[in-house]
Symmetry: C2
Subunit: 248 residues, 2 copies
DNA sequence: CGACCCCTTGAGGCTTCTCAAAATCCGTGG
DNA sequence: CCACGGATTTTGAGAAGCCTCAAGGGGTCG
């Protein structure tokens, strides 16, 4: 079926406990979107969903593009970013499985979305998705919870960018990645960073060089060890917490 | 009835076109929350609402407090902020009529809310508000729209804090205030800033001194004039746009 | 084995912050 | 109406943190 196939097949066997490997993404989608929906509602959602697969460093959509689709990530990591005319870029957040992409109040995307890893998404035509929301209150409820949670994360990021030093930003970032890995049930030590130094910098409002210097400083004070550029051993999480800020 | 009274009286006359002056806030609330609700739904909302009045510089709730209530602003301006242990403060946003306060996914407030002006709010017990959401889909829909819009504003703020210079931040801020004044139907020139230099600084991730120096520089280049510290004449809006960033 | 990309390290400069003091505004009271 | 006191804003000088520019190191893949 290639890299794109329809989901209509999923709800045709809603009580099947074991789902074939080839449909593992259906499972993921079902878990993240449909958990509280009844079979008929799940069918309605699946009827308008298309699955897409992206390779690393692919653009899903670009800032300013017409927001024709809403996406839900079933696997992988995605970076959202905004750019200025002279090339300065700010990553506004990293998203993972279960997160929604491209759900806008306006008709155009306010950010760009680029994959960091292999990514599977469910894609919904915008109009159909909004109709679903109107018809299925639990879906709207879930989206509201997601949006509220993202808003709180954005406020944390605003505090970080507005008031924290480079060292505090890096420490906060590492702690955040540890929590994320734990929440996903992954290994938290050594921590795997799916993003480059440039992306870390663009996320934290720093340059590559400053990011690198902070990593080096943490390494030389034995708070972390670097197995490789993207594999970080956390030797002293409590020191990281102290560096990130005693308050908050 | 003092500064606190219940709203149950409002929906008892839903078809009354003229509402007494003493109930002007009911009107505002009705417009902002209940626009798309039928009379019975409006009654349900009003039944759990309490109106509160705050003076300038009062704390509505503090970061970390139990999120016992959800608020909707009917008039005035409110600043949301987060603080660090050593006193560094970051204002995450300014809210006005129609905006919701304290609607959290978690049980505690993630930010503090402080009034800038005289403020009227509708207050809802958290539990009752969530029950309303479950019972009245249009209310949930409106909240989702609001949350999505705020998320987009937060992303703009993240770009500003992560990548813009002091001058760009101030210019962006002034343009934002102009838009806000226009959207509210107020006078955009001279622009009235309800916040102090300290609050502008805490919003833009700058110090008071840097904010003041930028205002002075804009004044000396005739882009703006200062009638007083909080009354700004915009002489060259196009120059502000250019300074804010040619892209975006 | 070599080319390329990413990361690290170094030196110097610039923007913004810090600390300090003067000026202005505003409400209060004579 | 003017004088006073406190708070806010403005201005100045110097310091610091981060950025810019530049070069070197290390890993990966063909």
């Amino acid at each position: 079926m290639g890299s794109v196939h329809n989901f209509v097949s999923l709800p045709s066997r809603p009580q099947s406990p074991s789902i074939p490997d080839t449909c593992v993404n259906c499972t993921a989608r079902s878990l993240t979107i449909c958990a509280s929906l009844n079979p008929q509602e799940q069918a309605e959602v699946a009827a308008v969903a298309t699955e897409l697969v992206f390779k690393p460093r692919q653009i899903i959509f670009h800032e300013g593009d017409e927001a024709a689709f809403v996406y839900n990530i079933t696997s992988g990591s995605v970076a959202l970013s905004k750019s200025m005319a002279d090339g300065r870029r700010q990553i506004t957040g990293f998203l993972g499985p279960g997160d929604f992409l491209g759900f806008n109040a306006r008709a155009s995307h306010s950010v760009s979305a680029e994959t960091l890893t292999d990514v599977h998404v469910c894609r919904f035509p915008r109009r159909a998705f909004h109709e679903l929301l109107a018809r299925i209150p639990p879906l709207e409820h879930r989206l509201l919870t997601v949006a509220t949670t993202e808003l709180e994360a954005a406020q944390d990021q605003i505090l970080l960018l507005g008031r924290k030093t480079a060292m505090e930003r890096i420490s906060t970032f590492l702690l955040m990645q540890i929590e994320r890995a734990k929440a996903r049930g992954g290994v938290a030590n050594p921590l795997i960073l799916p993003m480059t130094r440039a992306e870390v910098g663009d996320y934290l409002g720093l340059t590559i060089e400053t990011v690198s210097r902070c990593f080096t400083k943490l390494r030389k004070s034995n708070v972390i060890s670097l197995l490789s550029a993207d594999r970080v051993c956390i030797n002293a999480p409590e020191a990281l917490s102290a560096l990130a800020d005693a308050s908050d």
